[in-house]
Symmetry: C2
Subunit: 350 residues, 2 copies
């Protein structure tokens, strides 16, 4: 029921996904409205689609924590509970991001050892995609939580995008280790000691669109601003281009017409809706956040993302890696202690 075009586009995208990915889909929301949209798909039940009726909706302006607590029968709350209960493998929402994140935190809980869940947004690049995280779940994030974002993002890039040893960068204002604010400098120090990721140093703003890194870590304050800036810039340039062609006379119009197939191909390459959804990493369950403006195509892609997320066993890998990282750090600490003791014993003998 969430998003600018719900339930119409959400239902349409789900039908497409059921056909494309052969996955069972539970549509959680107002049954009469959903049935109305499904009228145009008489075989919906055969496709593996079911409806789970709910009576409430969390609106965009509501306070997420309050709304999730009060509205027990809100679609996002019930859908998340279905994952908790093992009825579903994943939950997807195009509604209030805050509500989806809060529901996931309250109901699914955090993965043991993870301090903060983060939203990982795939940003299109010439080579494919860069995962930017956190893109808005937490602000004033502690360095150790940013490090965990890096570990989770790296696992996601590996098992969902199929990238071996993903290049992980820390979003900062310069390449040098000494650059940045206190948060970035402390995070850099910690990242150097992590065993399970391929940390490649600081990423500057320009490295996000150029795709110099596979995973870029940042605080949710910075990530959200960058993400919305990119959206605004793309919209603005497109608007100006249309405007310029509209006022550009016959020659410009003919040129635009001739160029259209090329531009369309390029647009498809840069189209965020091809990726459709951003995973909320760090909770005990698969949760995908879609953009409020999502249409059927985005929703269908996002369900594909959820499918890859489940099939890739990302949750298990995150859990195992966090445990492994802790064990490695402990082993190192013990080895250092033993070495110190041995050195002391030796100097006592002298």
């Amino acid at each position: 029921m969430g998003g600018d075009f719900a339930p119409l586009e959400i239902v349409k995208g789900s039908v497409d996904a059921a056909r494309k990915y052969h996955c069972e889909i539970v549509l959680v929301g107002d049954e009469p409205q959903i049935r109305d949209v499904l009228k145009s798909t008489p075989d919906w039940e055969k496709l593996g689609i079911t409806i789970h009726h709910t009576s409430e909706v969390i609106e965009m302006g509501e306070h997420p924590a309050e709304a999730v607590r009060k509205k027990k029968d809100a679609s996002v709350v019930v859908a998340t509970q279905l994952v908790k209960d093992g009825v579903c493998d994943a939950v997807l929402s195009a509604g209030s991001t805050g509500a989806a994140v809060t529901a996931a935190q309250f109901i699914l809980k955090r993965i043991k050892g993870i301090g903060r869940p983060t939203i990982a947004t795939p940003m299109p690049t010439p080579q494919g995609v860069t995962l930017l995280l956190d893109s808005g779940a937490n602000v004033d994030t502690k360095p150790e939580h940013l490090v965990q974002s890096g570990i989770m993002g790296s696992i996601y890039a590996q098992y969902v995008f199929g990238i071996k040893a993903p290049k992980v960068g820390l979003l900062n204002i310069g390449e040098e280790e000494t650059k940045g604010n206190e948060q970035a400098k402390a995070t850099y120090e910690l990242l150097k000691t992590v065993h399970t990721i391929n940390f490649c140093g600081n990423a500057e703003g320009r490295d996000v669109p150029t795709g110099a890194f596979d995973v870029v870590i940042c605080d949710g304050f910075v990530g959200n601003i960058v993400l919305k800036f990119a959206e605004g810039l793309a919209m603005t340039i497109l608007g100006l281009l249309k405007d310029a062609i509209g006022h550009g006379g016959l020659l410009a119009k003919a040129g635009a017409l001739f160029l259209m197939p090329t531009l369309r191909k390029l647009g498809k390459r840069l189209d965020v809706t091809e990726y459709g959804g951003a995973p909320l990493l760090g909770v005990n369950g698969v949760c995908i956040i879609s953009h409020g403006s999502s249409k059927a195509k985005s929703i269908c892609s996002a369900i594909g993302v959820a499918d890859d997320y489940v099939e890739g066993k990302v949750l298990e890998h995150i859990h195992d890696t966090i445990v492994e990282e802790e064990q490695l750090a402990q082993a190192e600490e013990e080895a250092a202690k033993a070495a110190k003791k041995a050195a002391e014993a030796e100097s006592a003998q002298d």
Copy 2:
């Protein structure tokens, strides 16, 4: 001597500016190299151009504070000193931003009452330009210093861009007052009490390119990342477009050719080199930071910016406004105290 194309493009841009703005220009740097470039402009002395020879250059990798302290005869140090001594009205550098900022802070000093100088970068929008500040001079900035950025940016937009009551926004992750990190929330509270600016609330990332505000305030960490992200995105899209047209067959090439005049006009509208320079606001002198990749056109525009900055008496306005703001705050405090006293006296009488 600073910048990727110094001294060639810097000198060429200065010659253009001397012709265009009829201002006297002192070229500070290695005299033989500068004279070599000026060979193609036999009338350079008549244009009001002089050379001030210096023997040192601060390289991009050097630590700014150390370099400025050690290299007393570095071009950026000497040029800044010429402003301090009243020989010049403004200093312009396309070299190391850190070195230019440090030289300005050491030599020109901060305007009384200003805690941190900030770099104000004009970002192109469909309507004109949005001033983004701080775009990289300071990180971990205190709320009161962000407020001062807002005041200085507003004055600059008013007297250099000619905007009446510029709309000032605080870069944040949501429109609501309660959104954001601790720094943003504290800054919002302070901005509400400022008398001398037209504070219009939070600006989201998308509001920068769409031009919803005239002045957007942020920490230098966020500003620098946004700025470099925009550069990277513009570069990437342009590269992909060229590539797509190159591989797009005859039709695409013809289309591109037909569209070229329209695209060129649009490009000119969005071209940052039209603005050429970002003022360092908050120091006791006019200091303009140009991009390291600046060519003659950018340098010429930047000299125009310096000219507007001086003619607009921005420094005096900043000084006066800071004093006015302090006086207004003091008066308010005293009025509140007096009201409290009166109320106490009244209740004692009862």
